[in-house]
Amino acid sequence: MAKFHVTATVNGEEVEYLCDPQQTMLDVLRDELNLTGTKEGCSSGDCGACSVILDGRLVCSCLALGAELDGAKIETIEGMAEGDELHPLQQKFLEEAALQCGFCTPGFLVAAKNLLERNPDPTETEVRYWLAGNLCRCTGYDKIIRSVLDVAAEMRGS
């Protein structure tokens, strides 16, 4: 079967790839572009481990097809830090140990970043509902929620 030739922007850089019709965006990121920070937790859009930002919107990359992404702008965990400078959310997760096994963490960071871009002053309830699409089995979410609220406050102050 013929492969699709796709040109997209990933983390600010133009990339070209060939993909099969059935390959998801997640497959393409992990297998074709070697961006393995985005994880597969369920492949049904229920766990958020594969969260990326597609043209400004938070999506589960397991639910989009790689062939659909011609001209798209995609942001993944690998593009969150600017060089060696961590995003404030990454820095706070590090300071507060808001992660344990780390598997769901890229999805949480990407989702939280997108939340704060849309809503710089979320309530705790808004943070909990926004992140309810991301499953974590280790942390009980407590430190994640605290960290996002703290970063929101710090970013508003700066």
Partner: protein, 789 residues
């Protein structure tokens, strides 16, 4: 260095909230989990699984699959058997009360002629791509003869029930007992009051966020096998795969467990999939990779809990406990998983004394096979079931005696240590009043009546529930567990390698899959050797690097793994003192080691640790015919006893009677884990454990259709995992009585939350509703029905 890559320098010793060294790679997407690894020439495995709970395989036709595009090979149970591989094993022998050995049938890697649960492994297709492997699997023609199935313990024990294994008449694996039956009966005979309760401990699916995965590799030049896998205990995997399954000789098999995305028990066990990957890699002379899809995790990861219990508590006229009698039926699933038989027996019955001075206890446990996925250890493993039983019946007894549940607990607490329970355990130390009092303070128990009145005024029902749990961690000593049927020792190993520059590598047999060992273990080394934490590297998860180890489960890594490191560190310091005596021209007895420096006591003559390390490797400054050059020490630590973390969890809930929705208003966890190395990491362990405990109590339930044996809760849409909007902020408190039986005083913290929380929630809900019992999970529907029945 622009980015903070972890490590706080000065404040890095025991008790400091050091940032986790492992986190930089995780927050940047640079973690390296098994599925992130791609080997050259890698092929992909897909397992064809049984769609039936119980069926005979009359025939399998693989010809079309073998001819399918991209398919490299198709294997069935016959191929595995033809290569002489053994079946999967259970490493703990349980004896029934009549002295007979537990009964079990064979557990083939791939099914031979019978499948026994939905998801059982029928065949594997290996192809150039996963899509081609799946397409090939669709072409396998299996002729199944479907039989009746049983999924619950009562049904499986019924007369004429469908039979799982020819070797196991009546589906009864064992009928085990513990305790003094006659003494317990005598206690009940003289009791002024008896309280009884019959309930289930609901079946759970672990669901670590990283699905299980494996890559088998084989080097035809050297004959070396390598298995990358999501394991909590890679050395045990290597031992089982070599000594029992016979995939490869132990010295030719390297097992690597890289970053592992959570385990909670489910990654202790040795499963069919990794066995097939490493076996097939050698057959095909190329790497074979398998990663579970989430539905496979639901179907085939070992599940947890699933007990039905009847409990009776005998009390005297003053509300003092006289005896506890328990009969439990434990669902083991279709086959005995790696440690399945120990969970509802020695990890359960031995904890039934709880925090209470109960003179007589007798417990019977029937282990039962059913046509469901194997059941094994899941966070807490037997101890959550024990705590749930004890704390539910204790709360019920307090209500029936019309006593305050706090007062009732205080009246029966153990206060003198060491305390020998009637069920094997010897508690070395604890202070149960302290954790109860602190939890009551943090939840403001005194103000509860007012809060309840305020809720009532708003038409809501408020309740409070207590759970004074105890657990046993660091299962040991090896000789004792061996006498109880364990097939392995339960010590831990450590090696401390000091480099010539004074930096240190610590090799540990423990395995970190979220627990933060790279940080806490480094904190210990930093503290003891007086070197910066940045100069310490913790190495684990690779059988070629670490000689042997028992892995991480049962909250053992702090209490056992770190004790082994401490012993190795003691040896390093002892050798350092001998070398320093020569370098400083003093008697060895005059050399002290403190603050990272060896010095002659009472003088300013000193040699810093790093300088001594270099001297140890040059061998210039001491007689190497008396002291070997180099600075590297190892230790195997076998504990003399379990450790006994304990604490008190209190849940306060408010229920909306219109909808049946329960809202957690407060959740307080006060725990006594002994010595704390890193309070930030410990708090996270408590949070995560409590979340899983609340999940069991309010949300999660593994359900099989009782007729067909189909898994009904086989996706995240059907199995309700706790999400961020389901959980409250947790209040965590600590008390501390250091363990008396290990060098650091550590008790372990990994499972306490999952052990303590369920009873606290259900006690709170039943308190709010004024009812005796309600089944877990306490869903809105169940609560609504309880209110409206």
């Amino acid at each position: 260095m622009p980015a903070d890559k972890g490590g706080n320098g000065a404040q890095s010793g025991i008790g400091a909230a050091v940032r986790r060294k492992e986190d930089f790679r995780f927050i940047t997407g640079a973690g390296r989990y098994t599925d992130d690894i791609t080997l050259p020439g890698q092929s992909y495995a897909y397992f064809l699984r049984s769609p039936y709970a119980h069926a005979q395989i009359a025939a399998i036709d693989i010809a079309a699959a073998e001819a399918s595009p991209g398919v490299v090979a198709v294997f069935t149970g016959k191929d595995v058997a033809a290569d002489g591989l053994g079946g999967l094993i259970c490493g703990w022998m349980i004896h029934s009360k009549d002295g007979s050995e537990m009964r079990t049938g064979a557990h083939p890697v791939l099914a031979l002629d019978r499948v026994r649960y939905v998801g059982d492994h029928v065949a594997v297709v290996i192809a150039e791509s996963l899509a081609e492997a799946k397409a090939g699997a669709e072409l396998i023609d299996v002729d199944y003869e479907e039989y009746d199935a049983v999924v619950g313990v009562e049904a499986a024990l019924a007369e004429n029930a469908p039979q799982l294994h020819d070797e196991v008449p009546g589906n009864l694996c064992f009928a085990w007992e513990l305790g003094d039956k006659a003494a317990t009966e005598a206690a009940f005979d003289r009791a002024a009051r008896r309280v009884t309760l019959t309930f289930a401990n609901n079946r759970l699916i672990p669901n670590a966020m990283e699905p299980r995965a494996a890559i088998g590799d084989y080097d035809r030049g050297t004959g070396d096998y390598t298995l990358y896998t999501t394991s909590q205990n890679p050395h045990v995997a290597r031992l089982v795969l070599s000594a029992f399954v016979g995939v490869a000789p132990e010295h030719k098999l390297r097992v690597i467990a890289p970053d592992v995305g959570g385990g909670f028990g489910s990654k202790i066990f040795i499963y069919a999939e990794e066995t097939v990957c490493v076996w097939a890699a050698a057959k095909l002379r190329r790497p074979v990779k398998w990663t579970a899809e989430r539905n496979e995790s639901f179907l085939s990861d070992a599940h947890g809990r699933d007990h039905v219990s009847h409990a009776e508590l005998a009390l005297d006229a003053d509300g003092r406990m006289l005896g506890l009698r328990v009969h439990t039926r434990a669902n083991l699933g279709a086959y005995l998983s790696t440690f399945a038989s120990s969970v509802p027996t020695y990890l359960y019955g031995t904890l039934l004394s709880g925090q209470y001075d109960i003179p007589a206890i007798y417990v019977e446990v029937d282990g039962v096979f059913t046509h469901t996925a194997p059941v094994d250890a899941y966070r807490g493993a037997g101890r959550p079931e024990a705590t749930y039983l004890v704390e539910r019946i204790v709360e019920t007894a307090a209500r029936e005696l019309d006593m305050d549940p706090v007062e009732f607990r205080r009246r029966n607490f153990i206060r003198e240590f060491p305390h020998q329970t009637p069920v094997i355990m010897n508690y070395d130390i604890g202070d149960y009043d302290a954790s109860l009092n602190e939890a009551c303070r943090l939840v403001d128990y005194a103000g509860f009546a007012d809060r309840r009145a305020a809720s009532e005024a708003r038409g809501r029902k408020r309740g409070i529930g207590f759970s004074a749990y105890i657990e046993a961690c660091g299962i040991a000593p090896s000789q004792a567990v061996g006498s109880l049927g364990a097939g392995v020792g339960l010590w831990e190993s450590a090696e401390v390698r000091v480099n010539p520059t004074g930096s240190v590598e610590v090799l540990t047999g423990s395995h970190s899959h979220g627990q933060g060992h790279e940080t806490t273990f480094a904190q210990l080394v930093s503290d003891q050797l007086g070197i910066p934490i940045e100069n310490v590297e913790v190495v684990h998860g690779d059988t070629d690097k670490v000689q042997f180890g028992m892995g991480t489960y049962g909250s053992r890594s702090g209490a056992v793994g770190m004790s082994a490191i401490q012993l190795a560190l003691d040896k390093v310091i002892a050798k350092g003192r001998r070398i320093a005596a020569h370098l400083l021209e003093a008697g060895e007895e005059d050399i002290t080691f403190d603050g990272g420096s060896f010095q002659v006591a009472g003088t300013d003559r000193a040699v810093p640790f790093a300088d001594l390390a270099l001297q140890a490797y040059t061998g210039h400054g001491f007689p190497t015919n008396e002291i070997e050059p180099g600075l590297k020490e190892s230790a195997f630590y076998d504990p003399v006893n379990f450790t006994f973390p304990a604490g008190c969890h209190i849940a306060e809930v408010e229920i909306d009677p219109e909808t049946g929705v329960t809202h957690i208003e407060n959740f307080v966890a006060v725990d006594d884990f002994g010595t704390i190395i890193n309070p930030m990491i410990v708090a996270g362990q408590v949070h995560g454990g409590v979340a899983q405990g609340i999940g069991q109590a309010m949300l999660e339930n593994c359900a099989y259709d009782p007729e067909s044996g189909q898994l009904l809760s086989g996706s995240f849409m059907d199995y309700c995992m706790p999400r961020a909007d389901d959980l409250p902020e947790f209040v965590v408190g600590m008390t501390e009585t250091p363990c008396t039986t290990n060098p650091l005083g550590i008790k372990g913290c990994g499972e306490a939350g999952a052990i303590g929380a369920p009873a606290a929630i259900v006690n709170a809900v039943t308190d709010a509703l004024g009812i005796r019992d309600i089944a877990m999970p306490v869903t809105p529907e169940r609560v609504w029905r309880a209110i409206n029945s």
